[in-house]
């Protein structure tokens, strides 16, 4: 298994992919964190979907990671794209046959790839967390937000909890990307369908009938990152999100192990 992880890591660490992904993650992290503090007094809101996040909320013990939790969904979409591309490109490049000749254990190969991509995602999450907390701390003074509770014991617990939630969310998004990559066997199809569903279709359905959001996979995973939302509880999101991911992973694994590799 370690061999598979190390082989996959050789592909993931190439500068264009690694720096490009981390760069995109940092861009969204910086943007979300900066807007949250610089637009704190804006009447048009300073968070996703025009929500207003006030000083009282940011001054709580979890205030340091509020921005980071908000960017969790976007980090998830980045992970979905990377996982989907890394999986589906094995079909389009025809490299899957090389991998399977060297590692015929298909389930093992799949899990090895997943572990490597998880490590990649965790690295991206950690860097984003550090940058988001740093920007939040740096801008808190200017936004007149007190940070007195941020770095207390409870504050650190909140940081840990949010890191865990964002990690679960991002990895779940990634697994969905991997599932789409395995099912569709084309990076463009996997990424476009995944992103289109999460960013457009779910939001449209949610706008037409808000109750739909309670059952949409993308919304469950974003809610996990945020530790729950006014519309969907954390436990509901975690249970439903995990179920979606497990079912998808099971179907994709069975297909991957049984399907002929003919390209």
């Amino acid at each position: 298994m370690i061999r598979i992880v190390r082989a996959e890591w050789r592909k993931l660490r190439r500068p264009t992919l690694f720096l490009g992904t981390i760069g995109a993650a940092l861009f969204f992290t910086a943007l979300t964190s900066t807007f949250l503090y610089l637009m704190i007094d804006s009447s048009r809101g300073n968070s996703d979907r025009g929500r207003q996040v006030n000083r009282a909320l940011l001054e709580l013990s979890g205030g340091s990671v509020y921005a980071f939790a908000s960017v969790g969904g976007l980090l998830g979409i980045i992970a979905l794209c990377v996982f989907a591309a890394q999986t589906a490109q094995e079909y389009t490049y025809g490299t899957l046959r090389n991998l399977l000749v060297r590692q015929p254990g298909r389930v093992r190969l799949l899990f090895g790839k997943l572990i490597a991509m998880k490590i990649f995602a965790l690295l991206m999450i950690t860097i984003s967390a550090v940058v988001s907390i740093g920007i939040s701390y740096f801008l808190s003074d200017r936004a007149k937000v007190s940070t007195a509770l941020w770095f207390t014991t409870v504050g650190f617990q909140e940081i840990g909890k949010t890191l865990l939630n964002v990690s679960i969310s991002v990895i779940y998004f990634g697994i969905i990307g991997m599932v789409l990559g395995l099912l569709l066997r084309s990076p463009i199809s996997a990424i476009s369908i995944g992103v289109l569903w999460i960013l457009i279709i779910e939001n449209l359905l949610g706008a037409v009938k808000p109750v739909f959001l309670k059952w949409m996979p993308g919304n469950q995973l974003t809610t996990i990152a945020q530790g729950g939302s006014p519309e969907v509880s954390y436990i509901h999101a975690l249970t439903l999100g995990t179920s979606y991911v497990l079912i998808g992973a099971l179907i994709a694994t069975v297909l991957f192990t049984r399907r002929d590799v003919s390209n």
Binding site: R3, I4, A7, T95, L99, V101, R102, S262
Partner: protein
Amino acid sequence: MTTMAISARDLSKKYESGFAVSHANFEVPLGTICGFVGPNGAGKTTTIRMLLGLISPTGGTAEVLGESITHPEKYLSQVGAMIEGPAFYPALTGEENLKVLATLGGFPVERVAGLIKTVGLEGRGDSKYKTYSLGMKQRLGIAAALLPQPKVLVLDEPTNGLDPEGIQEVRDLLKKLASKGTTVFVSSHLLSELELISEYIVMLRKGEVVFAGPIQDLFLMQQPFILVKTASQSDLQKIIEIAQADGHEATIRSEVAHIEGPADWAGTLNKKAFEAGILITQLSPQMPNLEETFFEMTGDKK
């Protein structure tokens, strides 16, 4: 211990459209170079994919190094393969691509530099794969197949895109590997190349094995023939009549009489032509080459 590198018994793959491979039976002894030939769509790549565990047979069975193809993990560490052309990650260098496969297969990455040199890619190993020419990609594919220092090397059209010098290099490399005990199972449409290196031949047509065995046996199954040229064109018809009178099939092709018959009958023909006052300018007994045999056996006209 098995003496066969590959053996297939009634190996079949059926799709909705019909059989891609139908009840294939063949054996490839250890340490030989075996040519795998057949027209496009004959089922060569499907057979290779089944031998490598990439697709499941719908019938029959096969063994590689004495292990069933239902358990490819038992033999693939000793098998090198290039299937349907080289396939690598375009954004990685040639060397990095080989290191991915070396790491995955548990082979020392130090082997990569030597292989890059062996296949003639020295100086280009650190270039991105997407910048490689077709010939260079092919060489990298062969290097990847050699990573495990294989007991069995399976190559699908390894000389595609190579220049004549490259083809000769691959031929020499395969001979060298075979001399060290590696079994080489190679498919190619360059039949003259296969004829030069192969000791065994497996010939497929429409998914069925039409011949499998030593290449000499294949040629023995074919009718030898004699090519005759005469000083005068009008004498060619007389030559045909002499041959037919002795019970040999004969035709005129491109101003040359083509007579089916053994080499030792050429003397008789020469004597009879002399007695008939025919001046023969060329008399050459021939054995069919692999290409001619291939067209004969697969029923395809050249």
